[in-house]
C-alpha cells in the first residue's frame, strides 16, 4: 500500500508536536528515528487514525478521513509501545482479538483458521494454549505481531517493538518483520531508538527532530557522523561495513555533564 503524508501538523492542546511533515513510503520497512520527544509516537498515532492531525494522509491515493472506520481498521494495523499485557487470556484468544471488528457472538471457522494461520506464519502455533502472562517478553511481542497481521493490513505501524528484548530477540524480531513485510507486500513503519537496528533492517529511514523531518532516505545517506552530532548531540564514529550498512559507535555526548568545568 502506498502511504503519502502531506503537510501533516499536529499538537496536543497548543503545543505543536509535528510540523509540516511530508512522507512517502511504499511496501518496505521504513524506520522512524529521532531523539526522545521528536514526535515519533505521535506520528504513528496520526498515521493509525487514533489522532486527527491537520494536513493529509493518503493510503493508495485516498485520504484517511474518507475511510470508513471498518475500512481503516482493515487497512492499517497499529502496535503501540509497551503493549505487552498480562490479561488472563490464552495466546490463541489474544490473536483472535485482532479480528475484533469482524467477531460475532460466536466464533466462526474463518476466525479460527485465520488465527492459526497468523500463529503459524510467525512460528508460534505451539504457544496457542499458553496463557499470555506466562510468556517471555519476546514471545509476547510475537503474539502482538500475530494479532496485527491477522487482518492482513496494507500498513503495519509499530512503536518501539524491540523495547526490553535481548539482543538475539531483537534481531529475530526484525527478521520476522522483514519477512512478513516482503511476503505480504506491506508498508511497514517502525519507530525505533536503536540506530544500528534501523541501519541494518530498514530500507528507508526517516529522521525526525523536534517534530520536523530532518532527513529521509537510505540508511547510508541518513545516518552520518554529522547527523548524529547535530540531532542527537553525540560524537560517534560511523563506518560502512562490507555489506554497505552503516555501523554506529557512540563515543560521548557533546555536552559536558559532571563535576567542575
Amino acid at each position: 500500500m502506498k502511504l503519502e503524508v502531506r503537510q501533516l501538523t499536529f499538537g496536543y492542546r497548543t503545543v505543536p508536536v509535528l510540523k509540516d511533515v511530508c512522507i512517502d513510503a511504499g511496501p518496505m520497512v521504513t524506520a522512524v528515528i529521532g531523539p526522545n520527544a521528536a514526535g515519533k509516537s505521535t506520528l504513528l498515532k496520526c498515521l493509525s487514525g487514533i489522532l486527527k492531525p491537520e494536513g493529509s494522509i493518503l493510503l493508495d491515493g485516498k485520504d484517511l478521513k474518507e475511510y470508513k472506520s471498518d475500512e481503516l481498521l482493515q487497512a492499517v494495523s497499529y502496535l503501540p509501545q509497551d503493549s505487552a499485557s498480562n490479561a488472563a487470556l490464552t495466546v490463541f484468544e489474544a490473536v483472535l482479538l485482532g479480528r475484533l471488528n469482524s467477531l460475532g457472538w460466536t466464533v466462526t471457522d474463518e476466525d479460527l483458521s485465520l488465527t492459526l494461520d497468523a500463529l503459524e506464519k510467525l512460528g508460534i502455533e505451539g504457544l496457542a494454549k499458553r496463557p499470555l502472562n506466562e510468556l517471555s517478553g519476546g514471545q509476547k511481542q510475537m503474539v502482538s505481531i500475530a494479532q496485527s497481521i491477522i487482518r492482513k493490513p496494507g500498513v503495519l505501524l509499530m512503536d518501539e517493538p524491540t523495547n526490553s528484548l535481548d539482543l538475539q530477540h531483537q534481531l529475530e524480531l526484525f527478521d520476522v518483520i522483514r519477512t512478513i513485510t516482503e511476503d505480504n507486500n506491506m508498508t511497514t513503519v517502525v519507530a525505533l531508538h536503536d540506530l544500528n537496528l534501523a541501519a541494518r533492517y530498514a530500507d528507508n529511514i526517516i529522521l525526525l527532530n523536534c517534530g520536523k523531518i530532518e532527513a529521509m532516505g537510505s540508511p547510508g545517506s541518513v545516518i552520518t557522523e554529522d547527523m548524529i552530532r547535530t540531532v542527537y548531540g553525540v560524537n560517534a564514529r560511523v563506518t560502512i561495513d562490507n555489506e554497505g550498512i552503516p555501523q554506529i559507535i557512540p563515543i560521548n555526548s557533546t555536552r559536558y555533564c559532571g563535576p567542575g568545568k
Binding site: S48, I50, A87, L97, L112, T115
Partner: protein, 348 residues
C-alpha cells in the same frame, strides 16, 4: 473453510469454560434448595422440592414457609450476588484495577448516608413510608454519588485513574457525612443506621426481587453486547483504540450500568462487602478474561457465594440470622489473602 486443527485448539479452550459455567450454575440450584430447607423449622429435601414444583397441592404451612418467607430471601441472595459479581468484574476491567469494586468508588457509603439521612431526619414524618423512604433515599444517594464521579470524569477525559480518584474522593466525603449523622442522631437512630449498614437479605420481598431480577437481566444483556470490546480493553488502552474500540464511551457505558446495579442492590439489602471484589478474581482464575465467559461466570460465582453465605448466616448462631454483610467480609478476607499468596500467575 474449516480448519480441523484450529477448531480443536479453540474447542479445548472454550469447552473447559463452558463446563465450569454449567458446573457453577448447577451448584447454585443446589445451594438455593438447601437455603430454603434451612431455618427455624427445617424442611426435608422432598418437602421443599414438591412445594416449589407444585405450590397448590401441598400443606398450607409448607407453602407459607417456602413461598412467603424463604424463597424470596434465597433467590434474592442469588440475584444480589450475581449483580455484585457482575458489577465488580466490569468495574475491574474498565478501571484496569484489581482493587476496584462497586464499593471502592463510594457507592455503598453514599447509599448508607442516604439511608441514615432518612433515619435521622425522615422517620416519623411520613409514618407509613419508613421502609420506602430509607430504601428510596439510599438509592437516590447512590445514584447521586455515581453522577458526581461521572461529572468529574466528563470534565477530564475518562481515564481509569480519574475515575478511581474521583471515586475515592466521593467515598471519603460520604463516609464523613455518615459519621456526622451518627454523631447528631440519638442512640435509637444510630442503632437503626448501623443495622441498616450491616446488610440483610431478610428485607427481601417478591416485588424487590422482581425489580432486581429485571434490572440484572437488562444489565447482562446490555453489557454482553460489548463482551469482545471489554476483552480487548484488557490488552491495554492504546491497543484497544488501535483495534477500533471507543474506550471512553465503553468506560462510561459500563460505569453507568454498574452504578444502577450497585445502587439498587445496596438500597434493597444494605452493604454486602467483598463479593464484588473477590468474585471477579475467582472467575478470572477459573476461565480467564474472554468476557463472553468471564462476565457470566462472575455473576454466577457471586450468586453461589452469597447463596452459600445465606445458608451459613442461619447456622452460625442457632435461631438467629447472622448479618450476612459481616459474614461475607469475615470469610472473604482470609480467602482473599489466600488467593493473593497462592497465586502463581500475576494478571496485573
Amino acid at each position: 473453510m474449516t480448519n480441523v486443527e484450529a477448531t480443536s485448539i479453540y474447542g479445548e479452550i472454550a469447552g473447559k469454560k463452558l463446563f465450569l459455567l454449567l458446573l457453577i450454575a448447577s451448584a447454585i440450584v443446589l445451594t438455593v434448595i438447601v437455603d430454603v430447607m434451612t431455618g427455624p423449622a427445617p424442611l426435608s429435601l422432598g418437602e421443599v422440592v414438591s412445594t416449589i414444583l407444585s405450590p397448590a397441592s401441598n400443606d398450607q404451612s409448607f407453602y407459607v414457609i417456602v413461598w412467603t418467607f424463604r424463597l424470596p430471601v434465597a433467590l434474592m441472595a442469588v440475584v444480589i450476588g450475581a449483580a455484585l459479581g457482575l458489577a465488580g468484574a466490569v468495574m475491574q476491567t474498565i478501571l484496569n484495577n484489581p482493587l476496584a469494586s462497586p464499593y471502592t468508588l463510594g457507592i455503598s457509603s453514599a447509599a448508607g448516608f442516604g439511608a441514615a439521612l432518612a433515619v435521622v431526619f425522615g422517620m416519623g414524618v411520613v409514618p407509613f413510608a419508613d421502609a420506602v423512604l430509607v430504601t428510596g433515599n439510599a438509592f437516590v444517594f447512590a445514584l447521586l454519588c455515581c453522577m458526581m464521579i461521572y461529572a468529574v470524569a466528563r470534565l477530564k477525559r475518562a481515564s481509569s485513574e480519574t475515575l478511581v480518584l474521583a471515586g475515592i474522593a466521593v467515598l471519603f466525603m460520604f463516609d464523613s457525612l455518615l459519621m456526622l449523622l451518627q454523631y447528631l442522631g440519638n442512640p435509637e437512630q444510630v442503632q437503626a443506621i448501623v443495622f441498616w449498614m450491616f446488610g440483610s437479605l431478610t428485607k427481601a420481598t417478591w416485588t424487590k426481587l422482581g425489580i432486581m431480577a429485571v434490572g440484572l437481566l437488562a444489565s447482562v444483556l446490555i453489557i454482553m453486547v460489548d463482551a469482545w470490546k471489554l476483552t480487548t480493553l484488557r490488552l491495554g488502552e492504546d491497543k484497544a483504540k488501535g483495534l477500533g474500540v471507543n474506550v471512553e464511551r465503553l468506560r462510561l457505558k459500563g460505569f453507568i450500568l454498574i452504578s444502577v446495579l450497585t445502587a439498587t442492590s445496596v438500597a434493597f439489602v444494605g452493604s454486602i462487602g467483598f463479593v464484588g471484589l473477590v468474585v471477579p478474581h475467582i472467575a478470572r482464575m477459573l476461565v480467564g478474561e474472554d468476557h463472553r465467559f468471564f462476565l457470566p461466570l462472575s455473576a454466577l460465582t457471586g450468586a453461589l457465594m452469597l447463596s452459600a453465605a445465606s445458608i451459613l448466616s442461619k447456622n452460625v448462631v442457632p435461631g438467629i440470622i447472622f448479618p450476612i454483610g459481616v459474614l461475607t467480609s469475615l470469610i472473604g478476607i482470609p480467602f482473599f489473602v489466600w488467593l493473593i499468596f497462592s497465586r502463581k500467575r500475576g494478571y496485573w
